[in-house]
């Protein structure tokens, strides 16, 4: 933990009792890491406070990033708008009304240059939440680093690049599962060779949980997705210890405090054993599950929105007591809109209070050895392993997705949960108990329609200005690579450098791979 001059080397309670870095055995930092992946945990390094943020134009989001860094945030996390997430340019008919609404619009390298203007990429770690078009946005990020003179070896950060959970839960997919998995693996292979400190994938349970899964389903489907990515990378010819240390995970922190902590503890134990026993990894770093946590967006209520501050604080505390490596705390107004600056500052302060005032960061795995938490950890693990075995028996996650297995399990769980809320069995304060009529009104962030107009004009200007011969040649070379078995990343990077747009690159790949429609199940 970074400590100020007034903080002593050995933490003490407020009454002055000196504290060990952990209590009981086995110690945190020992295989299978149920108690955490580091012996000293937050004493050695506090979690990264990383607020997911992005809206409107690259100019406006760049200003928000500079503000967040000035407030003590320790890393950036880019939220893209829906057209970018779906590989459409701002002037695409499908993008009408959606540009800059849910995140920032990035249509080309020019937008990415603006996004990180004045932000040195060798100093600030950047996480990017992007999936189907992940290779494109990753290439733009690399191209900005080149322009800043930062070597790829110095880049720190995380690309979400987790397509399987899109078919399972969030549904932002462009191509069929198998070519999508090839693109994911292209990025993993390229990053392993050229961007060694960067996490090329963030295997995500967050969205699975937000879609209505239980904690056990979130854990099971996420770890089974992880197995799928490992198998594809091995198939590609990478050695497990070359890439496994850079696989990262992303979990939800929902409201059931102890079950969430049990989930994180079980996740580490299951993953460590899979990596060592199923895949024969030798490097300890391959065994250690590192994860980001975000508090549960779906738990935020429209009614009595200030209650959301308390919900978020409790969920964040579960993430910290579960040993998270980085954390996003939601803002109180997010059931309404993207957060205001005031709301996001309060969310960041919530983390800072947990880190510096509550004392929970002093001792690793403070609940380890609790009869309740250990029993719950064992049970969550047992149930998750059952699910994983069922998916193994189906032939892996892709066949499971094709037969709608995880989607159906989640839809059923979310409906049952909603019925418990309706019946009052599951209490939601301010919604089905302790309701009040005079709700406080919030000042919410509104995204000006001008952002869309500005992005539409910018991308048109770019197309007119760039060297069209160079762009076309780069896209043709990419198409040829997509049709072959070559890694597409170097070709995507060249197309990005030639200022091909997000939409043009994604359409080029779509021309080879085709599209994907899910069979909707109720």
């Amino acid at each position: 933990m970074k400590r100020g001059a007034s903080e002593t080397a050995q933490p003490r309670t407020l009454s002055g009792i000196p504290l060990e870095s952990h209590y009981g055995s086995p110690a945190p930092g020992e295989y299978p890491y149920t108690r955490g992946i580091h012996a000293a945990m937050y004493r050695a390094k506090l979690w990264t406070m990383r607020q997911f943020s992005g809206f409107a134009t690259p100019e406006e989001t760049n200003a928000r990033y500079r503000y967040l860094l000035a407030q003590g945030q320790s890393g950036l996390s880019v939220a893209f708008d829906l057209p970018t997430l779906m590989g459409c340019d701002p002037d695409d008919a499908a993008a009408l009304g959606e540009v800059g609404k849910c995140g920032v619009s990035i249509a080309s390298l020019a937008d990415m240059e603006t996004l990180f203007d004045g932000i040195p990429l060798d100093k600030v770690s950047v996480s990017m939440t992007i999936n189907s078009p992940a290779p494109v946005l990753f290439a733009m990020y690399l191209a900005v680093a080149e322009k800043q003179g930062v070597p790829f070896e110095k880049l720190n950060g995380t690309l979400q690049n987790d397509i399987l959970k899109e078919y399972i839960a969030q549904k932002e997919f462009l191509y069929p599962p198998r070519p999508s998995m090839r693109l994911v693996t292209d990025v993993v292979e390229y990053a392993t060779r050229h961007v060694p400190k960067y996490n090329p994938i963030s295997i995500s349970g967050y969205h699975i949980r937000e879609a209505g899964s239980t904690a056990v389903q979130e854990l099971a489907f996420t770890l089974r997705d992880g197995i799928e990515y490992v198998e594809w990378a091995l198939e590609r010819g990478l050695a497990v210890d070359e890439f496994a240390p850079r696989l990262s995970f992303f979990f939800n922190a929902h409201s059931d405090f102890f079950e969430e902590i049990a989930k994180y503890r079980a996740a580490r134990r299951i993953w460590a054993r899979f990596m060592r026993e199923r895949f024969g990894a030798q490097d300890e770093k391959s065994w250690k599950l590192r994860f980001h946590t975000q508090t549960a967006g779906c738990s935020l209520t429209w009614q009595q929105p200030y209650n959301n501050v308390v919900r978020t604080a409790l969920q964040a505390l579960a993430g910290v007591m579960g040993g998270t490596q980085s954390l996003h705390t939601n803002s109180l107004d997010e059931a309404y809109a993207l957060p205001s600056e005031q709301a996001v500052t309060l969310a960041l302060r919530t983390q800072q209070i947990i880190a510096h005032e509550s004392g929970v960061a002093a001792v690793a795995d403070p609940l380890g050895g609790s009869h309740y938490v250990e029993a719950l950890t064992d049970e969550v693990e047992r149930q998750a392993l059952e699910y994983i075995q069922r998916i193994d028996e189906m032939g892996g996650m892709i066949p499971a997705i094709e037969r709608n297995f995880p989607q159906g399990e989640i839809a059923e769980a979310s409906y049952q949960y909603q019925k418990r809320v309706e019946s009052g069995e599951q209490v939601i304060v301010g919604v089905n108990r302790y309701t009040q009529d005079d709700e406080p009104k919030l000042e919410i962030l509104k995204i000006d329609q001008a952002a869309e107009q500005s992005q539409v004009e910018k991308v048109a200007g770019l197309r007119a200005r760039r060297d069209a011969t160079r762009t076309d040649a780069a896209l043709a070379a990419l198409r040829a690579a997509a049709e072959s078995h070559l890694n597409t990343m170097p070709l995507i990077l060249n197309a990005v450098r030639a200022y091909a747009t997000t939409g043009e690159i994604c359409r080029t790949l779509g021309g080879v791979f085709g599209g994907w429609q899910e069979r909707s199940v109720l």
């Binding site: 499908a94 009304g97 549904k171 879609a211 009614q303 409906y415 309706e422 089905n432 429609q517 909707s520």
Partner: protein, 133 residues
């Protein structure tokens, strides 16, 4: 016995967050209605055509992306063009209060914001269909 109420639950726009749409569809079905779920990424044209073909009395639009001001007016205009004004349109999602007022001025029967109870939605749909007959 009354014939079953026919409802089209639709998910317009680019957003794929379909938890709400699916929960509502199941709740309406459990309440005895005939529910057709369009699946994701439906354009206003696709939604209105599906409503026509399926001969529904109700269209439920689920929008969580903030794009309601761009999408809903187009659906309403196309329904008018096709003389389908008698179809009851309800919207669910993250729609701020002042936008909800504007959508109702366009002819939307109700806007259900986060936290709305399933029972209330079911009851509203039943009474709105009775009133429209």
């Amino acid at each position: 016995m009354d014939p079953k109420i026919r409802v089209l639950v639709a998910k317009p726009g680019l957003d794929g967050h379909d938890r709400g749409a699916k929960v509502i569809a199941r709740a309406l079905r459990d309440a005895g209605m005939e529910v057709i779920y369009t699946g994701l990424r439906q354009t206003p044209e696709m939604i209105v055509n599906a409503a026509l073909q399926e001969d529904v009395q109700v269209i439920g639009l689920s929008i969580l992306s903030g794009a309601h001001n761009a999408i809903v007016p187009r659906v309403m205009a196309m329904l008018r063009e096709k003389e389908m004004d008698d179809v009851v349109v309800v919207v669910g999602g993250t729609v701020p209060d002042d936008d909800a007022v504007r959508l109702k001025e366009l002819g939307v029967a109700a806007v259900f914001q986060p936290g709305a109870a399933l029972d209330d939605i079911v009851a509203f749909v039943k009474s709105a269909v009775r009133a429209a007959v």
